[in-house]
């Protein structure tokens, strides 16, 4: 298992890494101040690897993805620092025309809203064909056939008829299939799916996830799945990166993160997923809301909502409210941004790891 941490601090890149994001910071300068939407994010995805970026809405997942694609509007946005190594190139310093060739050609992206993400005045075939024409330099006729084939690949029935239709003639699930067909039409090395199922019905969600997974396995493209729903990651990805308030708070393989969450935030996220084992129990949700970007807590960003946060009494010891923890490596590629994992607080960590330790008592 390769580390998902930015272990490559020395600058060496393992050859099987397709995307290597380092210390990414994206800020928005708006009227009321600066929003640090992404504030120091590092992660890697292996070739054909599958990684999920998880976190509540507003924690900076989409901005991370859009920064990788360099689709941030500047202004008001600013990519303040970082490197995005993709196939031996830093995308953030790539000339604009080369970056365009990467977009759609080597990295493709699917968005959350299939209803608004397709152009209402162009036919489906036109929109799929456009990508193929751009990146594979096909003629109109060939592009049309490629579009039909792409639709067939994603399981759209009667693709010859569908290519000539406009988005408003398709259902939400069908449109998301069109988006996937469009994204995959140029055989990208990396597919970024930003909440691809959030806007869909539950039954359709399943189908679309299955489709993404099946295609990923068939074509071997790497996958960056963005979701706020830990429930969908189990069967879809290998590794998980949990984000909170623009920072990574926990990383690990999907089994480790789901079964043994190290960060209180991840634990909170997990206990809010309905599951068979917990049937009959009350679902707990994390109290409170993500912090206002203009009034970030000075210490740990999760502290105001954290049931395990404590106030220290010992002079010189860091406190949750005042000192922000580092992303602490826990070995085996796991990491967690929480004072619990600081050697000084092993006693508290034992409390945390006691299976019965309810959130309320700990406070």
């Amino acid at each position: 298992m390769t580390s998902v941490l930015a272990s490559a601090q020395g600058g060496t890149r393992a050859d099987d890494v397709v995307l290597d994001v380092r210390d990414l910071r994206t800020y928005f300068h708006v009227m009321d101040g600066t929003v640090r939407a992404v504030d120091g994010v590092d992660f890697q995805i292996r070739r054909s690897g599958r990684l999920a970026l998880v976190g509540e809405s507003g924690c900076g997942k989409s901005v991370t993805a859009l920064t990788i694609m360099r689709l941030i509007d500047q202004p008001p946005g600013e990519i303040a620092s970082g490197e995005v190594w993709f196939d031996g190139r830093d995308l953030l310093t790539l000339p604009a025309d080369q970056m365009r060739a990467v977009r759609g050609g080597e990295i493709a992206m699917i968005f959350q809203e299939p209803m608004t993400s397709l152009n209402p005045v162009l036919t489906v075939g036109d929109q799929i064909g456009e990508a193929v024409k751009l990146h594979q330099h096909l003629r109109d006729r060939e592009a049309f056939e490629a579009a039909v084939q792409a639709l067939r690949d994603v399981g759209v029935p009667a693709p010859e008829r569908r290519v000539k239709q406009y988005p408003h003639e398709l259902s939400g699930g069908m449109r998301q299939r069109v988006m996937i067909a469009m994204a995959l039409s140029c055989r990208p090395k990396l597919l970024i799916a930003d909440e691809p199922t959030t806007a869909l019905d539950v039954t359709i969600q399943r189908q679309i996830l299955e489709l993404i997974k099946e295609i990923q396995e068939r074509t071997g493209t790497a996958l960056l799945l963005i979701t706020h729903d830990l429930g969908v990651v189990a069967e879809t990805v290998d590794e998980v990166v949990v984000m909170y308030a623009g920072r990574i708070v926990e990383t690990g393989t999907v089994e480790e993160v789901l079964l043994e969450p190290r960060h209180p935030y991840t634990r909170g996220l997990l206990s809010s997923i309905p599951s068979r084992g917990k049937r009959g129990q009350r679902l707990s949700v994390i109290k409170g809301v993500v912090p206002n970007p203009f009034r970030m807590p000075p210490g740990c960003k999760f502290e105001p909502r954290c049931p395990y946060a404590w106030e220290t009494s010992v002079q010189g010891e860091p406190t949750c409210a005042q000192n922000e923890p580092e992303l602490l490596s826990l070995g085996d590629g796991r990491a967690s941004r929480c004072w619990l994992h600081d050697p000084r607080f092993t006693g508290r960590l034992r409390d945390y790891e006691r299976p019965t330790a309810g959130a309320e008592e700990a406070r």
């Binding site: 109290k287 809301v289 206002n292 009034r295 105001p304």
Partner: protein, 326 residues
């Protein structure tokens, strides 16, 4: 318990307030209670252009009210009796002749101080602009309100009439009415502009009523037996005021321009009365003699007024109706 108290003076949305309370449960939050209009005033105050526009407009209103006491438009009793066609003097600051001081020069022919005409013209122009707008707002609100509230065939008939009238450039009708029905005094001109100016407004009010009548509070009022008239006046109308105020503001500007043009053509206020349009009437004929100041200053007064009103209207739109876009 509550050690720290913050008075929330900014206009937080309910969501923001909730967030604040969640973040800082130990804070006691005192919410300054602000009604819709106070909030709007806060937003308006922050709109610099709108403030400038309002200042400009108020200055003109002040000039219109008190100006005529200081500057008379028939400044000279006797025009040069010995000259057949008097050429008109340029502004003093151009000619250097300060006896008498002429800020905006003099008209040709009748030798009148343009400053006096412009200052006195402000009165009628503003009165007609505001008065006609009030008339059209009343008619438009009633017409559109009734059509939108009752709907059905009544709505179809009423709106078809509006549509028909809107297929004609309204100015055509105003000109014809001014000539055929007008009496050359300012109330009749105001009335004509008021009677033809409500069409667009009635459409706006109707669309607002159409959506508002589906709201729960209307059903609730109906369920307890409130009469239709009362529902329209007390429950729905107050909710339509913001867009109506914005549209009315912009309409004042439209009437001022329209009145000037109609009077300029001689179909509006009688030529013996000073309005900005009337002052301009013969100016075109004397342009060849280089009498540009005669045409320039009255028109410039119109532009300043309209600019001020438009700025104000934009600010009001942002303040009253933050979701609306251009």
């Amino acid at each position: 318990m509550a050690e720290r108290t913050v008075a929330v003076t900014a206009d937080l949305t309910p969501a923001e307030l909730e967030q604040l309370l969640l973040e800082r449960p130990d804070y006691e939050v005192q919410l300054e209670s602000l009604n819709q209009w106070q909030l709007a005033w806060r937003r308006f105050r922050r709109h610099r252009l709108a403030l400038a526009g309002a200042a400009l407009f108020l200055a003109l209103v002040a000039i219109a009210i008190i100006g005529p006491f200081f500057v008379h438009y028939d400044y000279y009793e006797i025009p040069h009796p010995d000259e057949l066609v008097y050429a008109g003097r340029p502004p003093s600051w151009i000619s250097g002749d300060w006896d008498p001081p002429l800020l905006m020069g003099e008209t040709a022919r009748l030798q009148r101080d343009i400053l006096g005409l412009v200052v006195n013209g402000a009165r009628l122009s503003l009165v007609i602009g505001v008065g006609a707008t009030i008339i059209s707002v009343v008619i438009g609100a009633v017409w559109g309100g009734v059509a939108g509230y009752f709907g059905g065939w009544l709505d179809s008939v009423m709106m078809r009439i509006v549509d028909s009238l809107l297929t004609l450039p309204i100015l055509f009708l105003i000109l014809v009415a001014g000539k055929f029905l007008g009496r050359g005094d300012w109330p009749s001109v105001m009335l004509i502009f008021g009677l033809f100016g409500w069409l667009g407004l009635s459409r706006l009010v109707r669309s607002l009523f159409l959506s508002l009548r589906e709201e729960d509070f209307v059903d609730a009022a109906r369920a307890v037996g409130v009469s239709d008239g009362r529902i329209i006046l007390r429950h729905i109308l107050p909710n339509t005021l913001s867009p109506i105020i914005v549209a009315a503001t912009l309409s004042v500007a439209g009437v001022i321009i329209g009145e000037a043009f109609v009077s300029f053509l001689g179909f509006g206020v009688d030529i013996t009365q000073p309005t900005w349009g009337n002052v301009l009437t013969s100016s075109l004929d004397f342009l060849q003699q280089g009498n540009w100041w005669w045409a320039f200053f009255p028109g410039f007064a119109i532009v300043l007024t309209v600019l001020g009103i438009n700025f104000m209207g934009d600010g009001l739109r942002d303040a009253l109706d933050p979701r609306a876009r251009i």
